[in-house]
Symmetry: C2
Subunit: 201 residues, 2 copies
Amino acid sequence: MGLKDSTTEEKILEAAKNVFMKYGLYGARMQDIANIAGINKALLHYYFRSKEKLFDSVFEKALEKYFDQMTVIGDKSLPIKDRLNVYVDNLFDFFREYPQMSMFIIKEISINPQMFHEKVAKLKYQKSMLIPTLQEAMEKGEIHSFDPEIFMINLHSLCAYPFLASPLYKAILQKNGYNWDEDAQNRIKESVKEFISFKFQ
Amino acid sequence: MGLKDSTTEEKILEAAKNVFMKYGLYGARMQDIANIAGINKALLHYYFRSKEKLFDSVFEKALEKYFDQMTVIGDKSLPIKDRLNVYVDNLFDFFREYPQMSMFIIKEISINPQMFHEKVAKLKYQKSMLIPTLQEAMEKGEIHSFDPEIFMINLHSLCAYPFLASPLYKAILQKNGYNWDEDAQNRIKESVKEFISFKFQ
DNA sequence: GTCTATACGCAGATAGAC
DNA sequence: GTCTATCTGCGTATAGAC
């Protein structure tokens, strides 16, 4: 991971990301983060003051990336189907780095919706125009008509869940002679694109 | 929920299920569980000895239900496509009661695979024959050929994720004039069955 | 900036009365 | 079986030397 050439702050953020992704906010231990970062526990507080603030830093950085890769949806120079395929590519790249991100967002909203909306508001946040974009294309008769909310839910399910469940699939796939590697992820990605084609046919 | 007519043990298990489902093992507080069950904290320990053991009781009960609803896959009196549709019905019923169950299984496997396999071994566990069943049907030419592992992952994604993300969808759907109610869940279920039809066409 | 040693509080667990 | 009061330990957070 090239941790050796990073600054202490970067090392901490990288270690914290991995520990939080594996154990969640409450399950994560500051001691583990310090060990993995190769520094002392007290230094975590020197840099980030508290566990919550450290989590927030990881979370906000991820949230920013998450919204960044979403902007392609609004790019009107491409046909809607192409935009969706690029969006899926982006989502897969994102989840490779932050496999548990959806759960963090979900928990955050579930436990403290106010806080979450404040964090989102801080970003140069461009609202995902997926649903209105689909509706518009349907009205123009460019695509076959279907329920855009359900489609959005299906699409997110297909992209997010395999990464959430990766510890499980690592085990299952290995028993069947496969690995949870980039190749497996790409085969899943192709199946998602196949699903998009099916809905757009 | 009819908590009033239940025994103390049932009240505890019901409360514990909800709190664990919302906050996870580490995020859950024994005090919260006691409050919701309408009893004292000490009584939790009287009945279940420790937090971990209480969690295990909830978890094992759920695991049993989870495997129960899976047996239909092996029921050779039905065509494979019908079996899958019943399986999806069962899965949706299960996730309505235990929306976060997949994450518990996943975390358990991720953190302590040994323990998980022991728990499964205790059940009158019938291995999901989904993949071999599909392979057999393909070899016989009953269904069109596709990758059964990827299909299984897609199917689980489509069923499990909407419940994991339900706090999120509650918020999103409400903004668009819908609710996260049984009707919404049924529309998602229909879309999953549509996906099955698509793969089996 | 980084460390060791230590304080502090919270949540799980226990003792013991009723 | 159920309660109140109390203990204990762990994990976050701080003080202070270097």
